[in-house]
């Protein structure tokens, strides 16, 4: 199978994630788009790992690390979103402008 095809699917999912992060207002939807981008990175890691065929399977191990970091990130992110919702009654990101002058 052609390596570049798999990498192109990764690039497609990454670009979809970028669009979601920039275009969405709801904080939970932005978190979902970030998950899409992290998954695109995992596709790249696993594809390069399958291409190299190394003994240590480094690509897959780093994909596992990225999955663990994504789990930690979404946990903290949702806790912050819940706290913002409790304090400001909204999670629209363009209304949360407390740090803007």
């Amino acid at each position: 199978m052609n390596l570049a095809l798999v990498l192109t699917l990764g690039a497609l999912l990454f670009s979809i994630g970028i669009y979601g992060v920039l275009a969405r207002r709801n904080a939970v939807l932005v978190l979902m788009s970030i998950e899409l981008m992290l998954n695109a990175v995992n596709i790249n890691l696993v594809a390069f790992g399958a291409w190299f065929q190394d003994k240590l399977a480094v690509g897959q191990i780093f994909a596992l690390f990225v999955i663990a970091v994504a789990a930690a990130e979404v946990g903290i992110g949702l806790a912050i979103v819940l706290m913002i919702f409790r304090n400001r009654e909204t999670i629209n990101l363009d209304e949360v402008d407390l740090l803007k002058w």
Partner: protein
Amino acid sequence: MNGYEWMFAGIALAAGISGALVVSSRNVVHAALFLVATLGSVAALFLLLGAEFVGWTQILIYVGAIVVLLLFGIMLTRAPMGRMALDNPNRGIAFVVAAGTFGVLTWLIWDAFGDERIPLKSVVQTKDIGKSLFDKFVLPFEAISVLLLAALVGAIVLARRD
């Protein structure tokens, strides 16, 4: 095209369409369910590439844990419907940026790896992953454990009502 490539075409189609629906759906819960479809397609791609442990971990962690967490986030916050409530007015600029990124990345990928083939001859077994992880990568593994613990404690501290 051989069997692997047909399967890859199906997986890529499913992942691309459901991924596009994640960022364009007008209902937050539908977006989460399309995210499940995208992540499941990516898990199938991992299995196709011979990464069996990563594929099943993807199903367990992403579909089983992260999407459920996101659904809880949707339920605990007020989830409005409709395009204006969910999207920015500067959607057009976002689309241009995303399309530009995709164009540049695709050009770069095909320029650099256009005629490389993935061998697809062996499945990396869970045994090999475990041996590698607990032999060469013990230190990052422990660091990620501490990171997860810190994230757990931090999430509880942030979300608790005093």
